[in-house]
Symmetry: C2
Subunit: 330 residues, 2 copies
C-alpha cells in the first residue's frame, strides 16, 4: 500500500525514525535498565520491537495493557505501575500466566492485590507529583503488610511526573535529585531489587533508579520535542486539506484525532489556529490546495494514539505495515 491510499486522519510512523529512537534508547539504557511504558503507544507490535532491542520487562498503566502484552507473548516481567482495587481484573491478570508485579500505595490496594492472587508488588511512593503513591515514611509498613499477606515485595516505584516535562535541564537534574532522595529513603525501608522511576525527559538524568519507565521516546511529541533530547519525531497524524479560504485552510483531523491536553498540535510551515472535533484550522505560510496531504505533530502522544485503531509504519511513500493499537480501553 502507498501512503496516498491511507484513509485520513491516520497515525503514521516513519520506520527509520522509530528505529533511531529505539536504538538510541537501547544504547543508553540497555536491557533491563529500561522498562518501556506501553501507555505511550498501546501497541503490542511496537512493544515487540522494543523487546527485540533487548528490553525484557514492560510498564503498563492498565490491566488491559498488561493482558494484551501477556497474550502477545511479552509477559516475561510486567509492571502494572498503577493502583487497581478491582479484584476481578487483577484476578484475570493472574490467570494470564504472565509475571505481573502490581503497584500498591495503601492497605486497600495491598488487600485487593492479595485477594486477587497477585504474588508480587512494588510500593508506589509519592516523590513530588500529587497523584498516586504513599508518603515515603509509610512505604516500609505497606511492604510489611504485603509480605504478611504472602506477597513478595520487589522494591519501590516513584514517578517524577512533575519533572519529566520541564524545559530547563538543570532544573530537571535538581528536581530528580530531590525526588529520588525520597524514593531511596522509601527503598531503604522496603528493600527489594527494583527502584523503578523516570520517563523520557529524565531517562539520562535519573541514575538513582535501577530501571526507567520511559515510553514517549519511541514515537515522541511536540511537548518532549522541546527538551533537546536525542529522540526524533517519528509519529505524525496524516491529514487531508478539505477546505481553503483566504488566510487559512482546514484539514480533516481534529480533537477526536489529536489529544489537546498539552495544547494545539503543530504543522511545519503553518500556524495552527484551533482544533474542532473533526477539523484543524491553520494558516499555511505557503500555498495549499484542497486534497493535499499534510503531516500534523501531536502535542501529547499518549492520548492521541488512544483515539486511533492503527499505526501505519511507512518508509517514504510505502506503507510497510499497519499495526493495531490493540491495548486501548479498560
Amino acid at each position: 500500500m502507498r501512503l496516498g491510499e491511507l484513509t485520513t486522519p491516520a497515525l503514521v510512523v516513519d520506520a527509520t525514525l522509530l528505529e533511531h529512537n529505539l536504538a538510541t534508547m537501547a544504547a543508553a539504557l540497555p536491557g533491563e535498565r529500561l522498562r518501556p511504558h506501553v501507555k505511550a503507544h498501546k501497541c503490542t507490535a511496537l512493544a515487540a520491537r522494543q523487546r527485540a532491542h533487548g528490553h525484557t520487562g514492560f510498564t503498563c498503566a492498565t490491566t488491559v495493557e498488561a493482558h494484551g502484552l501477556a497474550r502477545a507473548g511479552l509477559g516475561e516481567d510486567l509492571l502494572l505501575a498503577n493502583e487497581v482495587v478491582d479484584e476481578a481484573r487483577l484476578g484475570r491478570l493472574v490467570r494470564s500466566g504472565a509475571r505481573v508485579t502490581v503497584a500498591v500505595d495503601s492497605e486497600e490496594t495491598v488487600a485487593a492485590a492479595a485477594a486477587a492472587g497477585i504474588e508480587e508488588v512494588v510500593v508506589d511512593v509519592n516523590v513530588g507529583l500529587p497523584r498516586c503513591g504513599c508518603a515515603p515514611g509509610a512505604a516500609g509498613s505497606l511492604a510489611e503488610s504485603a509480605r504478611a499477606r504472602g506477597m513478595a515485595v520487589r522494591g519501590v516505584m516513584g514517578y517524577e511526573g512533575h519533572v519529566v516535562g520541564l524545559d530547563d535541564r538543570a532544573r530537571r537534574v535538581e528536581l530528580v535529585r530531590v525526588a529520588m532522595e525520597l524514593l531511596l529513603e522509601a527503598h531503604d525501608a522496603v528493600g527489594g531489587e527494583l527502584i523503578s522511576a523516570g520517563g523520557t525527559g529524565t531517562y539520562d538524568i535519573n541514575t538513582a533508579a535501577t530501571e526507567i519507565q520511559a515510553g514517549s521516546y519511541a514515537l515522541m511529541d511536540s511537548a518532549y520535542g522541546k527538551l533537546s533530547l536525542p529522540f526524533v519525531q517519528a509519529l505524525t497524524v496524516l491529514a487531508t486539506v478539505v477546505s481553503v479560504s483566504p488566510g487559512w485552510a482546514v484539514a480533516d483531523c481534529g480533537a477526536k484525532a489529536l489529544a489537546m491536553d498539552h495544547g494545539n498540535p503543530t504543522i511545519e510551515d503553518a500556524e495552527v489556529w484551533f482544533c474542532s472535533d473533526e477539523h484543524l484550522t491553520f494558516a499555511p505560510r505557503g500555498a495549499v490546495r484542497v486534497g493535499e496531504r499534510i503531516r500534523v505533530v501531536p502535542a501529547h502522544v499518549d492520548p492521541t494514539v488512544a483515539y486511533h485503531e492503527q499505526i501505519h509504519v511507512v518508509d517514504g511513500d510505502d506503507v510497510l505495515e499497519s499495526w493495531p493499537v490493540d491495548l486501548r480501553g479498560w
Copy 2:
C-alpha cells in the same frame, strides 16, 4: 447488571435525564426542525431514540457516521455536514442506499461528490467561524457548478460555531443574527428547501434556519451547562477512587477517558486539579475512601465519547442497556 459491576472508567447516561433532554428538544424543534448531529454521541442506539422522538434526518461529521446510520436503518435523510474529497469513501456512501446529502464549499469538493455519484448537495457557507464554508458571495456559482454536474442542490448550511458557546445570551442572539444574514444572502443565490445551521447553544435563537443541527443537548457537558439551557447533564464518567493522600485523591479516569480541549472536567463537591493519562487528581471537599465510585462531568462531550466503546444507560443503580459507541473512527 448493577452500576457497581461496571468496569471503570465508564460512560454512564441517566435514562430519565436523557429522556428529559430528548423530549424537551423535540417539543421545541419537532420533527424535521431538528436534524440531530450524531457526532456528539456516535451511537446508533441513541440516534434511534432521537428518531423515535420524530426527527427523521440526521447530521453527520464523517462518512463512518453516515454509513453506520444507514446500516442501522436510520438513513432516511442524512446530511454529511463536512467537506470530503475522498471519492472512494463518498462512493461507498452512495452504495449504502441511504439518502445522503453532502456539504460542498469548493470546486474540488463539488467535483469529488459528482465523481463519486453523490446526487444531492448543500453549499456550505462561512458565516463567521474560520473553518469550512465558502464566502457567501461564492455560494451561487458553486450551486451552479453542482447543478451543471447533474446534482440537486438542496440549499445551504452554515454553522455559527463561534457563537454557540458564548455565555451571554444577548450576544448569542446578536451574533446569530449577523451570521444568518450571511447565510440567507447565500441562500438567495443558491435556492433550495434547506437552510441548515445552529447548535445546542442557539437551538431556540436561530429562527432563520429551517433546521437546527444540535447534538450535545442529548448528553450535555459542563461547557454547555454554563448556558442556562433547559437540558440537563445526562452523561457522566463513572470512575473509581484508587488513591487517597492528605489533601487530594486520585480517580481512575484521565485524559484517555475525558477530552481536555474544553479544559478540566468537574466533580461535585471537589476541585479538579489535573488529568494525567489514566488519572484524575482532585481535592474532595469531604472525605473519600479508596474504592469509592465518583461521577465526573466532561467539559466537552463529543471527543470524550469518542474515547469509549460503550455508553451504559442507567436507572439509579440498575444498568438498563449498554449501547455500543459504533460510529467512531474514519
